[in-house]
Symmetry: C2
Subunit: 355 residues, 2 copies
Amino acid sequence: MNSIINDIEIIKSETTKIHDVDFDNLAFGSVFSDHMLECNFKDGKWQAPKVVPYQAISLDPSAKIFHYGQSVFEGMKAYKDANEDVYLFRPLDNFNRLNISAKRLAIPELPENYFMDGLKALLEVDKEWIPKQDGSSLYIRPFIFASGNGFHASPANEYKFLICTAPSGSYFSGKVKVLIEQTYSRSANGGVGFAKAGGNYAGQFYPTQLAVEKGYQQVIWTDDTSHEYIEEAGAMNIFVRINDTLITAPTSDRILDGITRKSIVELAKAEGIDVEVRKLSVHEVVEAAKNGSLKEMFGAGTAAVISPISGFGYKDEDFELPELEETFASFLKKRITDIQTNKVEDPFGWRYKLD
Amino acid sequence: MNSIINDIEIIKSETTKIHDVDFDNLAFGSVFSDHMLECNFKDGKWQAPKVVPYQAISLDPSAKIFHYGQSVFEGMKAYKDANEDVYLFRPLDNFNRLNISAKRLAIPELPENYFMDGLKALLEVDKEWIPKQDGSSLYIRPFIFASGNGFHASPANEYKFLICTAPSGSYFSGKVKVLIEQTYSRSANGGVGFAKAGGNYAGQFYPTQLAVEKGYQQVIWTDDTSHEYIEEAGAMNIFVRINDTLITAPTSDRILDGITRKSIVELAKAEGIDVEVRKLSVHEVVEAAKNGSLKEMFGAGTAAVISPISGFGYKDEDFELPELEETFASFLKKRITDIQTNKVEDPFGWRYKLD
Ligand SMILES: Cc1ncc(COP(=O)(O)O)c(C=O)c1O
Ligand SMILES: Cc1ncc(COP(=O)(O)O)c(C=O)c1O
């Protein structure tokens, strides 16, 4: 596709907030860089993207985003290596997934160069916002929402595609204790679970609050028909290690096709780890916990990369996982982070250098 | 609950758009009245509601509504009778359902007087906007969305509750041909289908587009496990008449508890019609269509009240419904509309007079 990078209009902010930011103590996704990418869909097509100062958005109260949840998003990161070179990780996969999500939500798909060149132009302008600190990165949030007006329950005729960025610290919050959900569900067969659609997240908040009240930090979603198969964690895919085999559920129309998940599957295989992508029943995990063959569980997603699980609750019973010296979780996390941040060779071609 | 109606601050619009509106040719939900109710949740509580000029809303790009679909809404109508008295229809049911939806979406529930008195204050200010024309009404859209900021996938700390209104003509669009869906689904067991959550609507747009391409106007949703049970139409509940029995599916966590639906059930019973609230299989409806016992199908919801169905598609076969002289649909629609608009007695206590 044609590059449009030199045609992207750039309207620079007259001030910068960068001096207020303590890059050594960054939280996650709560401080935003000076600029954003803005691109509007109207008159039947996506208009030229622009880099503009990060600023409030003004919408009519009848804008469809407020009523019908027509929105999709992505989550990705930019890293700076020791030379201050900037890298993305498999960005075309995020672009493709954004369009897969958009299609399911009846949102017009984006041209690849609007996404990729728009992102590059934005990162060039806000290069100083990409943290150099080890473990830190620039969290990137591309999103599209229905900005067109009217109370008809039908797709909007106008949309906004924005990319905002937030310098973020390493997402370490210790091990998490999870609840294997037996009442609520995240997604339906034939639904939108495979899409990064806004509504999928709001629907998880209440069941997660209930789990938190019971002493868990996160919910592991199961299929909505039987609650017998482990699906994902709602913002992370799930891996289970039984003896020395790493198992993760196949993606489906209910499960997001996580980029971290598929990278881990490839990486683990390349490292000689026995990997199985197959349906994983709660029964099997509980049995493995009981007989001691359950060694590890962890979540995998862009924000935390890998998030180890200390134990799980299932039907009023709690199961603890062993404390191992050497875990697949920490080994794989280091491998993938080293690739992302250009500390090691990248035999997979995942790293994407910006120039 | 205490009335707060005299404490509601009213900021009047300096201009009016009412003279631009042709009340004899109103469409649905596309012209908005001069004012709106606005109420903000912050610092852990709902702040006092205000009537303000209908105006754009300004939000940070990180506002959670754009990312996590945290929003719920209601749909109701105000009617003017021949004396210019104004009536609502079962408004407390809308209020209660809004809070049921809010709770499931982890949105703080509203106090009853904020909703009811806020609505009354708004309708008083915009009284002239309530159409007098037969078949017309003021469509009322209460909604709540997450206005708090941040990329964390967690409930927002700030929300906006707004009520906007739109004078609307009668929602007549002829009979509709529907597709009984066998691939896509609207909601999951244990999901948010019973809530009027924004995301439920966006998820329907794409499957509906596919149905429209095949020559249908709407989708009839079935359960996501077997696609064998008829659920609802996505903005309407569904009734089927087999011989002289009127059947509708029981509500569940996948089906919205429609106010029109439950009013029709009560009304039909009071009129001596045989009504069954029970699971309704596609198989049964197809058999009834084949043997001629299927007399009618119709949707029921606030916007159209009752929307008759001319035929349905199921697995590549089309079934036509008979053209009857006297239908339950038109009989019940007249009964309910006459009650709503104060043309007849209301033995049920559904009509709610504003003073
Ligand atoms: C529902 C869901 N599952 C899984 C993931 C992990 O996907 P990825 O590794 O691409 O970040 C995410 C987060 O992006 C998610 O939102
Ligand atoms: C999903 C859904 N089902 C049914 C209905 C009908 O409900 P009511 O009769 O309360 O308008 C609506 C519309 O409000 C709806 O959105």
